[in-house]
C-alpha cells in the first residue's frame, strides 16, 4: 500500500482554513465554557435552592447525553422553536454548554476542597462574600483542579471534530472532504491526526504556562 501525502497536502489551503476554524472554536469555547462552569459551581454551592435545581438539571442533562446529540438538537431542533443558528454558532454554543457542565463539576470539586480555615481567616479580615470567593477560594481551587480542567478543555477541543457533521468547516470536515475527492482516506486522516495531536500538546503547554501566570498565581 503506497501512501501519497502530496495529493492531500496539495489541498493545504482547505486544511489551513479548517485548522483556523478549529482554533477559533476552541479559543471562544474554552474561556466562555470555563466561565460558565465557574458560575454554575458557585450557583450549586451558594445559590438559592431553585437555582441549585436548575443548574443541577442542566449539568446532569449535558453530562449524561452524547455531544453529537446536543449538537444536532441545537442545529436541527431549535429552528422548530424559531431559533435558527448558523453552523458555526451552533457549534460554539454546543461546545460552551458541554464544557460548562463538566467544568462546573470540576471547579466545584476544587472549591469544596478549600480548607475551612481559609474562609474563616478571610471572614476575620472582614472580606465580603465576593472578595472571599474571587480572591481567597477560587484561585487556589483552580490551581488544584487545573490539570483536570485543562484535560476537559482538550476533550472539548477534540470534540469539535464532531461539528463537521453539521457542515462546520473545521479541520475534520476538511479531511473528510479531501478524502472523498481524492480517495486518499488513509493519508487525509493520518495528517489530521497529527494536526490534532500537535494542537492538543500545544494547547496543554500553553494553558499550563498561562494558568499560574495569569489566573491563580504561582
Amino acid at each position: 500500500m503506497s501512501l501519497d501525502f502530496l495529493v492531500v497536502l496539495a489541498q493545504w489551503p482547505m486544511l489551513l482554513k479548517g485548522l483556523a476554524l478549529t482554533v477559533l472554536l476552541t479559543a471562544i469555547a474554552a474561556p466562555v465554557g470555563s466561565g460558565l462552569g465557574i458560575a454554575c459551581a458557585w450557583a450549586r454551592l451558594h445559590g438559592p435552592s431553585w437555582l441549585r435545581v436548575l443548574v443541577g438539571s442542566y449539568v446532569e442533562l449535558i453530562r449524561n447525553t452524547p455531544f453529537i446529540i446536543q449538537l444536532f438538537f441545537i442545529f436541527f431542533g431549535l429552528p422548530a422553536l424559531g431559533v435558527k443558528l448558523s453552523a458555526e454558532t451552533a457549534s460554539i454554543l454546543a461546545m460552551v454548554l458541554n464544557l460548562g457542565a463538566y467544568a462546573c463539576e470540576i471547579v466545584r470539586a476544587g472549591i469544596e476542597s478549600t480548607p475551612p480555615g481559609q474562609i474563616e481567616a478571610a471572614k476575620s479580615l472582614a472580606l465580603n462574600r465576593w472578595q472571599i470567593f474571587f480572591r481567597v477560594v477560587l484561585p487556589p481551587s483552580l490551581a488544584r483542579v487545573w490539570p483536570a480542567l485543562v484535560s476537559q478543555i482538550i476533550i472539548v477541543m477534540l470534540g469539535s471534530a464532531v461539528c463537521g457533521q453539521i457542515s462546520t468547516e473545521e479541520i475534520s470536515y476538511a479531511a473528510n472532504l479531501i478524502s472523498s475527492r481524492t480517495f486518499r482516506s488513509m493519508e487525509s486522516y493520518i495528517l489530521v491526526t497529527l494536526v490534532y495531536l500537535g494542537f492538543a500538546v500545544l494547547l496543554r503547554q500553553t494553558l499550563n504556562w498561562a494558568g499560574p501566570r495569569f489566573i491563580f498565581g504561582r
Binding site: 436541527f76 457542515s167 470536515y173 473528510n176 472523498s180 475527492r181
Partner: protein, 284 residues
C-alpha cells in the same frame, strides 16, 4: 474359499452381445442429438409473449411502493406515482387488466426472470450488467439529481444560486456537479448522509437542497410546510421498462405504446404532474 466378489460400490461391467451394444449406442446418440436440438431450437414462446398476455387478459407489472414520486402508497392505500401511471397506461393500451405487484430493487429482476411479473416499471435504470439478463424498452421518464427549494425562491439558472445556501451530501454526484457549476458565492453545506442533508433543508438551516429525485420526493411529501419544489436540473439518468430477454413481441408493443405516448404528450403530462418538470431529452 476367498471371496472373489468385488467390494460394494464398484461398477461391474458385464460383457454384452454386439447387438445389444449397438442398440444402446444408437439410443444414446439419438438422445444426445435430441437434447442438442432442444437446446439450439428457437423457443416458439418468444413471440408468444404478447399473445400470452392477451390470452390471460391481464399483465403483471412490477412497481415500487416506497419510492415517491415514482411509486408510492397513497392515503387510500392504492399505489400511485409516475411509474404506476405509465404501468396503467400500458395495460390500458393493451386492453388487459393491470396487476400491480410491489417489487423492491433487489428482487425486481429475479421476479421478472421467474415470471412473477411480466414487466418492470419501477425507476429502473439501464446499465451494461442488467442488459446482460433483461431487455430494456425506450426511456419513459427522467430520473435525476436536482436542486430543490421553496416556492418563494426563484432559481432559473446556476447564476441565481449566488448568495444562497444549499445542503448536499458529501461525495455524491450532486456534490461533484455543484462544485463545477455553482457560483463562488453559493454557500455549500455538506453533510455526511442523506438524512442529515434533508434535515438541514427541512429545518431551514439552508435555503436549497441538492439531491436525487426520490429522496427529494420523500422529503417534500413528508414536509409540506417547507413548500419545496423542483428548481434546477443537475444530472439526468432516465427510467426504462424491463422485460424478459427474448420477449421481443411484448417489448416491441410496449415501445410502440411509449413512443405514441411521448408523441401525443401523455408522458410529458405525467412528468409535469409527478415531477414538476418536463420530459427533457429522453434517449431511446
Amino acid at each position: 474359499m476367498a471371496c472373489n466378489l468385488p467390494k460394494e460400490g464398484v461398477f461391474i461391467n458385464f460383457p454384452e452381445s454386439p447387438a445389444i451394444m449397438k442398440f444402446k449406442f444408437a439410443t444414446a446418440l439419438t438422445g444426445l442429438l435430441a437434447g442438442l436440438a432442444l437446446l439450439t431450437s428457437v423457443p416458439a414462446q418468444a413471440d408468444d409473449s404478447l399473445s400470452a398476455v392477451m390470452a390471460k387478459k391481464s399483465i403483471s407489472l412490477g412497481i415500487a411502493t416506497d419510492f415517491p414520486p415514482y411509486g408510492f402508497m397513497g392515503p387510500d392505500f392504492k399505489p400511485q406515482g409516475l411509474d404506476v401511471a405509465v404501468a396503467q397506461l400500458i395495460a390500458d393500451k393493451l386492453g388487459v387488466k393491470a396487476e400491480m405487484t410491489p417489487v423492491s430493487t433487489p428482487n425486481r429482476i429475479p421476479y421478472l426472470q421467474t415470471r412473477k411479473i411480466d414487466l418492470i416499471v419501477s425507476a429502473l435504470g439501464k446499465n451494461a450488467e442488467r442488459a446482460k439478463v433483461i431487455d430494456f424498452s425506450v426511456a419513459y421518464a427522467p430520473f435525476y439529481q436536482a436542486i430543490f427549494g421553496p416556492k418563494s425562491l426563484s432559481i432559473k439558472s446556476y447564476q441565481d444560486l449566488s448568495g444562497k445556501s444549499i445542503a448536499v451530501t458529501r461525495g455524491t454526484i450532486q456534490d461533484d456537479i455543484l462544485q463545477q457549476v455553482a457560483p463562488p458565492t453559493l454557500k455549500i453545506q455538506r453533510f455526511e448522509d442523506d438524512s442529515a442533508t434533508v434535515a438541514a433543508f427541512v429545518s431551514q438551516q439552508t435555503q436549497l437542497l441538492a439531491t436525487g429525485a426520490a429522496v427529494a420526493g420523500v422529503a417534500i411529501q413528508k414536509n409540506p410546510q417547507v413548500q419545496a419544489e423542483y428548481k434546477l436540473l443537475l444530472k439526468d439518468s432516465p427510467n426504462f421498462i424491463g422485460a424478459r430477454q427474448g420477449e421481443k413481441a411484448l417489448l416491441d408493443k410496449v415501445n410502440e405504446i411509449l413512443r405514441q405516448a411521448k408523441a401525443d404528450g401523455t408522458l410529458n403530462s405525467y412528468a409535469q404532474r409527478w415531477l414538476g418538470r418536463g420530459l427533457g431529452d429522453l434517449p431511446e
